[in-house]
Each structure stands twice: as C-alpha cells, then as structure tokens.
Symmetry: C2
C-alpha cells in the first residue's frame, strides 16, 4: 500500500512538474509511465467535461416522446458490439464464435455458486467439473488436488446447519410472507443480514444498522434512484474518468442527471504516484469548471475498486476526497461492487465504511451488490447503505420500481450468512482463480510488450494500445476495436469509459482458461497482423 | 354478460336523464341505483379532473432535490394505514391485531403455490393444511373431501414430467446463463413461454410472438416505463375513476406524467346498464376538458377486470374505447392483471388480445403479471405485450432498472408452462375459494343492508357506506376509515381511488375464513355501533 504525502486538506495540491513513481506497483504494472512520457504528441488535455448524453442522438419515433426516443437510442447504439456477440457467441459447439473479453463478469466460479445454491441439482447441465478441470494455470496445484481441497473444505461446511448437501436445497423456501407485497426497503431479515455482512467485510468500526440498508435489484437501479432523489433535472454528479460508462445512462435515462468528468490521464506528474491518479486538485478544477458553465453539481461518484483502472483508494485518499465533498456540500456515492474482488493480497483494500469517522455521514452513500463479488450479475441484487434517513426513505419509495422477488431475498440472506462457505470455500477459491487468470493475461501482455494498468483488483486490465493506432484519434480506436471483433474477440474501447486518450482498452480476464487462451491468441493475431501489414480498405 | 346498445362510435351518446337497470347483475349486486337515486344531496359532479399528485405535498428535506422530497412524501403519506397495520398485524399469536381487508392480495392459495414451487419442502412453516382446513364456507364440500379432491387432481399432475413431487424441486436451476447479465427484455425462453401462455389464456386469434413480449419486475415498473417513453414531462394519460390509486405514483414519480380522471358515478343514467359505467361520451368529455386546460393527453389507461369495481368490459365496449383512442391517436395501456381471477362463470371475460382486430395495434399495449392471478405480489413478475417495436425497445432499455433475477425467470417459465397444474389444480381451486369467500362477504353485506358493486372478478367488493357518513364529505369518509382501523380492521377508502362520491370503500375478500370472519365482525361492530351511538370527540 502506498502512502500519500500528508497535506492540509483545505489547500489543494498545486505542484505540477515533478514526476514521482514512488509506490507504483510495477509488479502488477506495466512500464506505463515510461510509455506515457515517451509519447511525443502529448497535448494538454481538458481537465473536465460536462457530459451531454444525447450529443450523438439521431433517431426518432412517431410513437415515442422525445425522451422515449433517446431511451430507445441508448439501447440501439450501446448494444452494437453485444448484438454482434450474441449472434455468434463462442461455445464448445461454435469454436469460431466470438470470445467476450468485454463484459465485466466473473465466469470463474459458476461451479461453486451452483453447488451452493442448488446442492442437490444434477451436475449435467452445470459446468462444475469442467470449471475445476480447466484451471490449468493454478500454480502448482493440479486440478484433482484442487477438487479435493475444495471438497474437503466443503464438507466441513456441511456441519453448519445452513448447508444440507444432497438434500432439499436451503435456497428454496416459499413462505407466504415472501409471496406477498414486500417492505419496499427489502425484507427485514435480509436487511439485517446485509448489515451484518457489510459490518464484517467492510470492517466497520461499529456494527452497521439494518435501518440504514435499502435493498433493490442492482446498482444500476440505485444510481437511477439516487440521481433522481438528490438532483433536479439537469444537475450533475462529478465522476473521475475513465469510469464504467453505463453510469451515464443510469443517472440520465430516468433522472435526467448529467455527469461532469474529472479527466485523469496516464502521465504521472507532480506528487502523483501512479497513472490516472485522482487528486483533490483535479476534483476542485472540475467542480470550478462546471460551476463556471452554470452546471450545478450535487455529488461525487467514487468507484472503489475502480472500474476500469482496477485501482483502489487508500484511507488517506478516501478522506481527502470526502473532505473535498464536505467542503462543497456534495453527496458522495461510493460504488464498492468490487470490494471482495481484490485478489492481490498485497493490496490493502479499505471500504469507506471502515473509516473511523466519515467527514459528512449524512451525505455519504455506499453501494454494494452481488453482481461482481459473487459473480451473479443475473441475480439482480444490490444494496444501499446510508445514515441519511431522508435519502433512504426517498430511495425506498422508488423501490416500488426496483423490487426483487421475496424468493431471491431469501436466497440472498441464506448466501450472505453462510460465512463458512464464503470464507473457506468461495473467497479463497475465487481469489486464487482470479489471480491465476490475471497472471496469465498480464504475462501474455508483457510478452507482447504492451503496457497496462492493473493493481490486483477487479476483473479487468486497462491496456494501453496507443502505439497500435496510426493516429491518436477515437476513430482509429474504434477501427482497432472493430478489427478485434472481426477477429472474433470482443473488447471494450476507452472512449466508452470517457477516457480522453485514444487507444486504451479494457480487457476482462475473469474467464475460463480455454476461452481466455483463445481470446488472447486472437488479440495477439490482430496486434501482430497490424504491425506486419497495413490496414486495407476494411469497413 | 350484458350487451351494450350498438351506436355509431363517431357520435358520443348524449341522452342524460333516463334511468336504466337493464342487465344490472343484481345477483352479485346491490340495489345500488336505488341508494344512489334516493340520495337527496345529489350534486352535478365535475366530469373530469386533471390530477396534481403534489397538491397535498408539504414536507421538505435539505438533502433531497424537490422531486426527491415529493418522492419521499409519497412514501410517508401513502403508508399511513399500512404502517399502523404492520406494527400490529393480526396473527394467531396476536388475535387482537389488525385484519387487513385493504391490500388487494389473494391469500387463499399459498398452500397450492408453495407445494408447486417447492414440492419437497417441509410443510411446517407453510400453512398448507391450515389453508385447506379453514375453508369452512366451501359450499357442500367438507374440508376433508376438498383435501382429497385436491390431492387426487394433484397426483394426476404428477404424471407430467414438469412436477416431480418429493424430489428436488424443478424450480431451482442454476445455469451460468441465469447468473450472467440477462437480455434486458427477459430471457428468450421466458418470453416464448409468456407468448404461449397469453395466446392460450387470452384466447388470441393468432399465436402471440415472443418478440412482442418484454418481461420485468411487475406492472408498477411497466407503468413507470411506459409513461416515460410515451409522454413528455407534464403530459397525461386518461383514466376512468375510481381506479387503483397507486397508478398516480407509478406514472409520476419517475415519469412526471399526470392522470386525467374520467369520473364515473354510481347513478345509472341514459343508456347505461350499470353503476360507474364507462362510456365513450365520458371519455370524449374528459379529453376535451383536459385539452381546454392545455393538458396534452397521450394515452388512455384501461383496467380490465377493473380495480376497484370488479367490472369487466364486453368486447363491444372494448372496441368502442379503442376506437375512441384511435380517433385521437392515443396509446391504450390495458392492465389485465386480474384476467384469470374472474371467478363467476357467468361473467364472460374477454382480453383485449382476444379481439379479432385491434383498431390501432401500434398504440395498444397490454400488461399482465403474476401478482394477482397467481397470488404472488412478492414475486415481482410482470410483462408487456405490444406489437410496437419502438415501444418494446424503449421499455427494454429502461428494463436495466426493472430487471428480475434469472432464477426467478426460470421459475416463472416453469410455472407458466405447467398447464396441467394451472388448469386442473390451481385455477379451479382458486376460483372456488374466491367464489366462496366472495359469497360469504356479500351475504354479510346484504344482511347489513349495505349496497355494493361487484361482478364476480377480482379480490374486492366496492362497498357503498354513504349512508353511514353524517355528511357527504371526504373528511367524514376518512373518519369512518379511522374508526375501522381503531377497531382493528383495515379497509381502503374511496378517495384513494379518486372516487368523487364520498363514502365508498374497497373491501378485499380474498383471505382465509378465520380472518375474514373476524374482519367482517369488526366491520359490523363499527357500522352498528355507529348507528347506535353518536361519534364522540374521537381523534
């Protein structure tokens, strides 16, 4: 863990010029700053940007309202790569199909999950054995010993009354109360379980309280609800960019809230210790810029661990950002959906809920979900933790539209309370698999001489392909992305994350070996083909 | 089924004055028109009203946006009765707790549902046996014979490969695809199943298509999404009132869309055949009125079977309403969530999807859910059927915020395809229980000399308590409602349904005998106490 120089939080850092690499984790890293500083065409970047989600909007429908047409356009445009992918997915039966290294999902642990959720289910349709046997890259452990290790831990968990194996699953309980209209905040039994879970895994100094928990169908909904209850139409949140681009839609489609980007860049300057580092100075400048354009900023969004950077904030940094927000009476939404996906032990992750004192607890709202940390994006479970009862109540009121099934609430409570399984089976196994997959991909990238950013958290590596663009434009970035897709591998290009430097790509590594190997072969083919032959009049 | 006099749909009926009782279903009914016409203080009612959902709004929060404060206020105010109820619910252990005859839920079939969903589950915590043995009012059948009848039908269903009893439930399948990001329209396997299900139960002239189906977490969400994609901020939908009052929030909280009430009243006039009858004339007048106030109307909401009237529209009426909408280029949202809860065989129910030709298929959008017809409001499953692909796509785009778990999607597909169980077990049993409960409550009301409206569909009776109000005001209506609540029975008062005549209440009868009997005793006590002793300075 690196330490930021202590400074008066009231005075923004203003010492550009000096370059520091102190604390840069070159072991997960990358040589990035060398690549960055070696670039001759380094232009001063704009330091912030007020988003206009409809800038590219063109289509219209006689049946829809103007906002309805925009909402439809988001579907039509955002899905381009995914539509192509879904029409030609890689499968055992379709080995020439597209490998998806674009969607941030953890596909490494379906075997563990399906065995936990439906222990008595036949393994036929479920790739449990396949899953374990394909872990070729797991260090010195042969697949068989892993299976045994996993099974022995599993059977110790059997002693817990929570996990009766080979019997009726403990996951399917149909009480009348689960079938009736719920408390829209979420059933109390689940909110209690979430409070205990977050207290434990976020290491909160005092037990967290169920009355501060609101449960709903995923963090996308939570962004939508928070934007709507915190902002008027047209107001904005600050967000450090690059960032997970879907948030643009989440706050805009229903809420009509915009994002003001705090642009980070790859060059390490001043007192910075790593590429794309967020500083209070940058936050202040973006806020000032937005104000000068008449845009009212109501909050700040922090993603920690960060997506797509895989970065984590130190407690000192978190405090700085939160104090900045407090000075300006900004709400802070802290998205911690990757908090249990920190697979590199040397990375000390700190949830905002672990801080001894929050600078402005009434304006600090924490988000977590099972989509990433439990590899279940299709389960639709997310949660808000906030001490502000006005915010909790207003979000609850919108939960009529974000409710999740009582049966799923029961399943989630069962899963979250099963600490034996989580601590002894799921997390160690998941982290080992993530680390192995990450090691494989980083070594491939190093062999190709490709710089990247990655600090041991999340499912992705932020890859610097700038040298493969004939010109530093987003058109060229998109062309390279299409070339990957034509060669049957789907990545995500940097512009989708509002990255201001063309040529960055997010590559998701949390997939099974056979797909990952094939995907990386295809990436390599495109990049090597690229350097060997000039691009033809292709598309 | 009654037949409406055929008339030129282009010419609104304008024949007030004459009273007709033709076709009035006095067997489910009520003597209502006698009560109505006997009232001396009959004043001309306003024929429409442009809703202002924030008219009563007062509270404010320093942390919330103005809309956030309104959204919070909806939670704080709307929940008044329910909060009191939830703090003191009637249970076996709390026999002096509040009986809820206010929430429209079907509590008669949890035994059937829990056995279908988790056949191997222990019956301990699930009131299956209790449920069957409490059916005291089921005509000539003793509880024991019912149990046997039900069991024998059940075992014939066992032959179906869909229902393996006493084994692993077919309801808990954990495929990786169910845990990954879904198609936001809903998984194809489920949309196919929904299309087959609706084709069969709506008796569509041609098979319905999966590409016209969008699946989401309940009809509340669907109202929210449709309002947003069809209307600009401040535009409106027409809705015949009294109506299920929550729709006000559903279209307003996110969508900022208002409702223009088409006021119906209890007096039967002109060519009308029943109280609270919707006519094209009333629709035309409300539309004209809204236009004259500068309110842009974009659509019409029809609830069929109607809530709270329990009314169903004939195919002829449906055609008239749809043609009216087509003339004015209005979208029509047809909410059919009670379509399988028509328990009176003589009532011929017709889904809008059964019509040979829709006047304006591109502007006709049908809603259905399992909340009512399968008594599972806590399951959060709803569906849109529309031929308009722009509307389907725009709603799908918003489904990021209304998604339901892949595991629930699997369960729903399993349930909807199990025609043996639905046709041979669930529907006949459910209808018999609804009918028995309805008969019990209607006889109680008749014994009390209380008029009511009810036509054999839905879970509620629309009860005329006007004669119990010392003055025909909503203040008195609310006082009577509070008196019920003080006497531990929760009803819904008419103003919550935008009924313009003070003194109407919705009474939900779809509850177990012991609760229903106790609830009706308490209702009787309040009403009889009322007539015996003058109201003191109570609240």
């Amino acid at each position: 863990m690196f330490i930021l120089p202590q400074k008066d939080s009231g005075t923004p850092t203003t010492s550009p010029g000096s370059v520091s690499t102190q604390g840069l984790h070159s072991n997960h890293g990358d040589g990035l700053e060398r690549e960055g500083s070696g670039k001759p065409d380094q232009k001063p970047l704009k330091l912030y940007g007020v988003g206009d989600p409809t800038a590219m909007f063109s289509s219209d429908s006689p049946y829809l309202s103007s906002r309805g047409s925009i909402i439809k356009w988001f579907w039509d445009s955002a899905e381009e790569g995914y539509r192509t992918y879904h029409m030609d997915e890689y499968e055992d039966e379709n080995p020439s199909g597209i490998i998806n290294l674009g969607t941030s999902e953890n596909k490494l642990c379906f075997d563990l999950l399906s065995r936990r959720v439906s222990p008595g289910a036949p393994l036929g349709g479920i790739p449990s054995c396949k899953g374990l046997s394909s872990l070729g890259f797991l260090g010195t452990l042969a697949p068989e010993s892993l299976l045994l290790a996993s099974a022995s831990v599993r059977s110790s968990a059997l002693l817990s009354p929570v996990c009766p194996q080979l019997s009726q699953s403990d996951m399917l309980r149909v009480e009348p109360s689960l079938l009736q209209y719920p408390d829209w905040r979420g059933h109390l039994f689940l909110r209690e379980e979430v409070a205990r879970f977050l207290s434990f895994y976020c290491r909160s100094p005092a037990p967290l309280k169920p009355e501060n928990v609101v449960v709903l169908n995923g963090c996308a909904s939570l962004f939508s609800a928070l934007a709507t209850v915190l902002c008027e139409v047209g107001e904005a949140f600050l967000i450090p960019a690059p960032y997970y681009g879907a948030i643009t839609q989440h706050v805009y489609l229903y809420g009509n809230v915009r994002l003001v980007c705090v642009y980070l860049d790859s060059e390490v300057t001043g007192l910075e210790t790593r590429p794309f580092q967020l500083t209070v100075e940058k936050l202040e400048m973006a806020l000032e810029g937005a104000n000068s354009e008449g845009v009212k900023v109501k909050g700040l969004i922090l993603i920690n661990p960060q997506n797509p950077l895989g970065d984590v904030y130190s407690p000192g940094e978190l405090q700085e950002y939160l104090k900045f927000a407090k000075r300006h009476e900004l709400h802070v939404m802290v998205d911690e959906v990757y908090m249990l996906s920190v697979f590199e032990e040397s990375v000390g992750y700190h949830s905002v809920l672990s801080l001894e004192r929050l600078p402005d607890p009434q304006r600090t709202h924490v988000m977590w979900a099972t989509s990433k940390d439990f590899g279940m994006s299709g389960l639709r479970f997310g949660t808000l933790y906030t001490e502000n009862q006005d915010v909790a109540t207003a979000v609850s009121s919108l939960c009529r539209y974000h409710g999740l099934s009582g049966l799923v609430q029961y399943q989630m409570a069962q899963l979250l309370r099963d600490r034996d399984w989580i601590n002894q089976v799921y997390l160690p196994e998941n982290h080992a698999r993530l680390k192995a997959a990450h090691t494989y991909v980083s070594e491939e990238l190093r062999a190709l001489g490709i710089p990247f950013v990655s600090r041991g958290a999340g499912f992705f590596i932020w890859v610097d392909l700038r040298k493969y663009l004939p010109a530093a434009t987003f058109e060229e970035e998109k062309l390279l992305w299409r070339r990957f897709l034509d060669n049957k591998v789907l990545l995500s290009f940097g512009q989708a994350f509002e990255c201001k430097e063309p040529g960055w790509f997010r590559l998701v590594f949390s997939d099974k070996t056979h797909r990952l190997r094939l995907g990386m072969q295809r990436v390599r083919r495109v990049l090597e083909g690229k350097s060997q032959e000039p691009r033809g009049p292709h598309r």
